[in-house]
């Protein structure tokens, strides 16, 4: 059997977080009644003209800089012509031969091995409206209804080089890109809602081949899981074709999530000929160095910088830090919790342990997590200061999930303050030593393990509140 190399390039569409659409002043708000955020411009009424939202350019520059691209000084827009009912003008205002950003890269790391993946270009364009079908799917619907609320929402199309060689790399690229877009605050990055969309160009070639194989473009990949599954499926599909002596057809395919397959989208449509030409209703955009440098100066901390900070300043292991940094909201939560804690590593452990477990169990995101970061910080500090044992801390944490109360409040309400009064603990220790002569003898005979049992007995008698460190110390002293 031949060994094949997989070649993947991704085209990502990111909806920009502007308040208004790209070429008109309609709100970009999501999920309203159909055709309520519309005007003559985005409805494509006769005579209406586009005017560019400056924030779109600003966000495009910011994105380009965050991804290490060259920002192009001269920009123009072009019309991309094709008929579709959700495209009000039946052309899309886009950028064709002179995109705003060229070059760039995303660094990923898999199993500790770093890899740099190239970005070819980024350009600005407008989104189309939405079709609501009368039936379950487009092909089973006798008619559809068009909603232009989304028409004209600004998009960045981010095109990668065909640098990825596995579904895992593609996933890492997407995760890293998503993190960066979140950090620089240009996109909501909600894949399910469509504010971050991904198409994958996939081909395979026999090992040692000089030229890439024929690629298929896979659309409708609206989750990381879909991306990975679709690539894995598509690679197998193409292998089977080649093994059978066939040829892969260059075509657009759609990912069918329910059945876990990619399906050809070929229809009777004539071959695409977009007839791009410069958009005469808009004037060029010229970006000078001062503009670029200002945006550069205002760039927030990026995921890679954050990772470094978490490792260097907060002392986290790199792997842990990378998990926290992957989601901006999680990283922000970490920072906020640390601001109120004396043990950053413990904050990280909580986030990656109990907190993540809770989020997964409840299927919510960190933004929806009921515990305020300063309270988690306080909880960690209570442990560090010996006020709470780890065991009791879990009890408190469980209560924090139920009610918005500070750990200190809960400790008091539940009567859980740790007893660190040496006299009180010594009295219990004496009691336990008296009741367990065999264990004392074992310990003295060199069986260190016996002390564990004794500690447990003291904790039991104190109903868990005795400071375990102090218990240990007193037991050892008294058995000398």
């Amino acid at each position: 059997m031949t060994n094949y190399i997989t070649v993947i390039g991704l085209e990502v569409h990111a909806e920009l977080k502007t308040k208004t659409k790209a070429f008109c002043s309609c709100s970009t708000e999501f999920g309203s009644l159909p055709n309520t955020h519309v005007c003559p411009v985005c409805l494509g009424m006769p005579g209406a003209l586009p005017v560019l939202n400056k924030q779109v350019v600003e966000f495009a520059i910011r994105t380009g800089l965050a991804l290490g691209c060259d920002i192009q000084k001269f920009n123009k827009f072009d019309r991309k012509n094709y008929f579709y009912p959700d495209l009000a003008k039946n052309y899309q205002i886009s950028q064709f031969d002179q995109p705003i950003c060229l070059g760039g890269h995303i660094d990923i790391e898999i199993d500790g091995v770093p890899k740099r993946l190239g970005i070819t270009r980024i350009h600005m364009e407008e989104d189309a409206g939405k079709l609501n079908h009368s039936g379950a799917t487009i092909s089973t619907s006798d008619f559809s209804s068009v909603d232009y609320n989304r028409a004209g929402v600004p998009l960045l199309e981010i095109v990668s080089e065909p640098d990825m060689r596995s579904a895992e790399e593609a996933r890492a690229y997407m995760e890293q890109l998503k993190a960066i877009l979140e950090y620089i605050d240009v996109c909501d990055c909600k894949m399910q809602e469509g504010s971050l969309r991904c198409d994958a160009n996939i081909s395979i070639m026999p090992e040692g081949a000089k030229e890439f194989g024929t690629r298929a473009e896979i659309k409708n990949l609206n989750s990381f899981r879909a991306l990975v599954r679709a690539i894995e499926y598509e690679v197998e599909r193409q292998k089977a074709i080649l093994e059978d002596g066939g040829h892969v057809v260059q075509e657009t395919r759609t990912w069918d999530e329910a059945n876990g397959v990619t399906l050809s989208m070929r229809s009777k449509e004539e071959a695409h000929d977009y007839r791009y030409f410069p958009e005469p209703d808009l004037v060029p955009v010229e970006i000078d160095d001062a503009w670029i440098e200002r945006v550069r100066g205002e760039l927030p901390e990026l995921p890679a910088q954050r990772l470094e900070r978490l490792v260097e300043k907060h002392g986290l292991p790199k792997y842990d830090a990378s998990l926290i940094v992957a989601t901006k909201a999680m990283a922000d939560y970490f920072d906020a919790a640390c601001a109120n804690s004396k043990d950053d590593k413990a904050v990280s452990n909580w986030l990656l342990g109990d907190v993540s477990a809770y989020l997964n169990a409840e299927n919510i995101t960190i933004e929806q997590f009921p515990v305020k970061p300063e309270n988690l910080g306080e909880l960690v500090t209570l442990i560090k200061d010996g006020v709470l044992s780890s065991k009791l801390a879990k009890k408190v944490f469980a209560e924090m999930l139920k009610a918005d109360k500070t750990p200190k409040q809960l400790v008091k309400e539940l009567g859980l303050e740790q007893v660190s009064d040496e006299g009180a603990i010594a009295a219990i220790v004496d009691e336990v030593l008296a009741e367990n002569p065999q264990s004392v003898a074992d310990y003295k005979a060199g069986k260190d393990k016996a002390i564990g049992f004794l500690v447990g007995q003291v904790m039991k008698k104190s109903r868990g509140k005795a400071n375990p460190g102090m218990v240990n110390k007193l037991l050892k002293e008294k058995m000398q």
Partner: protein, 95 residues
């Protein structure tokens, strides 16, 4: 002949138009007449000449990112040939 009937059909398809069969011959002929006339452009050497997509010497005509009221839902649908579920009704999207 620069374009054949088949070419005209292809262009009509891209333009979402149909040229009735009865008009096709004359249409193709007039189309060619215009394209033949365009041959005079071959006389000019435009090597290195910048194209003029914009006659104006201006750039950076921007709008601030501040929402303004558009039209009402009713106005949006006022001229619609058919309406369904608050949207513009169209027959099945796939041919």
């Amino acid at each position: 002949m620069k374009v054949t009937v088949k070419d005209v059909e292809h262009i009509a398809g891209l333009s979402r138009l149909t040229i009735p069969e009865s008009e096709m011959e004359k249409f193709t002929e007039q189309f060619n007449q215009i394209l033949n006339y365009a041959d005079i452009l071959e006389k000019i050497d435009t090597e290195g000449i910048e194209p003029t997509p914009y006659v104006l010497p201006i750039s950076n005509a921007f709008r601030e990112d501040v929402p303004q009221p558009g039209v009402t839902h009713e106005e949006a649908l006022e001229n619609a040939p058919a309406v369904y579920n608050d949207g513009f009704k169209v027959p099945r999207v796939i041919e």
